[in-house]
Amino acid sequence: MDKPYGLLAELTYSCPLQCGYCSNPLQLDDYRDELSTEEWKRVFSEAADLGVLQLHLSGGEPLQRHDIVELVQHANQLGLYTNLITSGLGLSTRRAEQLRAAGLDHVQLSIQADDQALSDQIAVTSSFERKRVAAGLIKKLGWPLTLNVVLHRQNIDRIGGILDMAEAMEADRVELANTQYAGWAGPNQAELLPTRDQLEGAEAVVQAARERIGDRIDIIYVIPDYYSKYPKPCMDGWASRQFTVVPNGEALPCPAAHELARGLNLPPATVREHSLEWIWTESPLFQQYRGDAWMPDPCRSCDRKEIDFGGCRCQAFALTGDAARTDPVCHLSPDHGLVEAAVAAANDPQRPKDGPLIPRAKVGRTKRAVGATPGKTAGTPVQLSRTVLKGT
């Protein structure tokens, strides 16, 4: 077993935005009892000892943590490469300067669209202008600028404009990644999955932009796996190269494994009770799908199992209820009909016109002192806010 290279620290699920494609879990309230500053610092130290080189600070919105500068500084002193993944909200000039001084290596700014109205509508928050200001600030302070754009049915036709905006912002890298249907994107899947025509259009625009822009911007484009023959090599295999720690200290082999982990009824792998070393090397959750002994057919006898590891465990769980099945995205999977049906629905000419997304819920933060773990909500806390009812 190799040592992990990367740690994704989801510091908080609090976020000023409410994107319908958000990969945060539906049961946001279960994660309000956040790790303290000292607990996160211990996690980073243990991660560095374990061989982790890269630390991604994410959320939610990581700038909602008042101790973000202190956390970055600690990670930097450990020699970790620190990458902040932010919506840009909360990145004041002062905050940015402090983060720069603390040694933050890189900032990834999420972008919803190139147009204010659409961007604010997708984020369900007035945020577009603040993102533009944040982009300018990131460049001004000398960080390289990476724009993260989650693509879906409602913004994929705007890639051309998004890339023009990236050029104007002097971005160094742009990641255009089609949505994975984890967390809030799950119930929104039908409104997020693009059509085949949209995808073909997008690929042509990306190709043309690459030729025009050349080396100035590194453009990364990730196609939706629902349209590919084989699944993605999710996480390079379960608990193989990287892992995630979520706001309340649970460790997960994949950033979308919240539900899956609970469904397995294994002893929890939480940093509040265990060392990262135990979690990585011994915890039943991390061992569960490591290697290929767990694989059923068709993966077991397939020569691609070394390439894609049978695909995404979380996707298998979300679509079939059994995380040990072949990723239904694979055309060889006995469950592939589920994906084909979603693709057919997305391309159905009779399909009703596009509707609004269910906005990700707001989550408050619980100070440790407030104590009690909030009671579990029954079912999915999807509130029909005015935004949903209003339509577009």
Binding site: A48, G51, L53, G79, Y81, D105, G142
Partner: protein, 92 residues
Amino acid sequence: MDITDPTARPRLAPHVRMVFNAARGEHALLSPETVWVINATGAAIVELCDSQRTIAEIGAELRGRYDQVADGDVQRFVADLVTKHGMEVDHG
């Protein structure tokens, strides 16, 4: 211009940093999405990529230090990283 031009002056891309990781006992180049594990010669090349020295000068300097540096090693290493956006070069 060809990225393997001996007069090119390479440097790490602004988002890339080299570290030596004690837990692993190896050098690595880090960028937001990628970790490139490199050997000691690679690390020595990267240390000399300061946007002042040319590829030819870096090669000459390394040959003074190691026996094992073949002609073209530095070019290949730099070209590979430039293609992956891990390095940038100035020409002339």
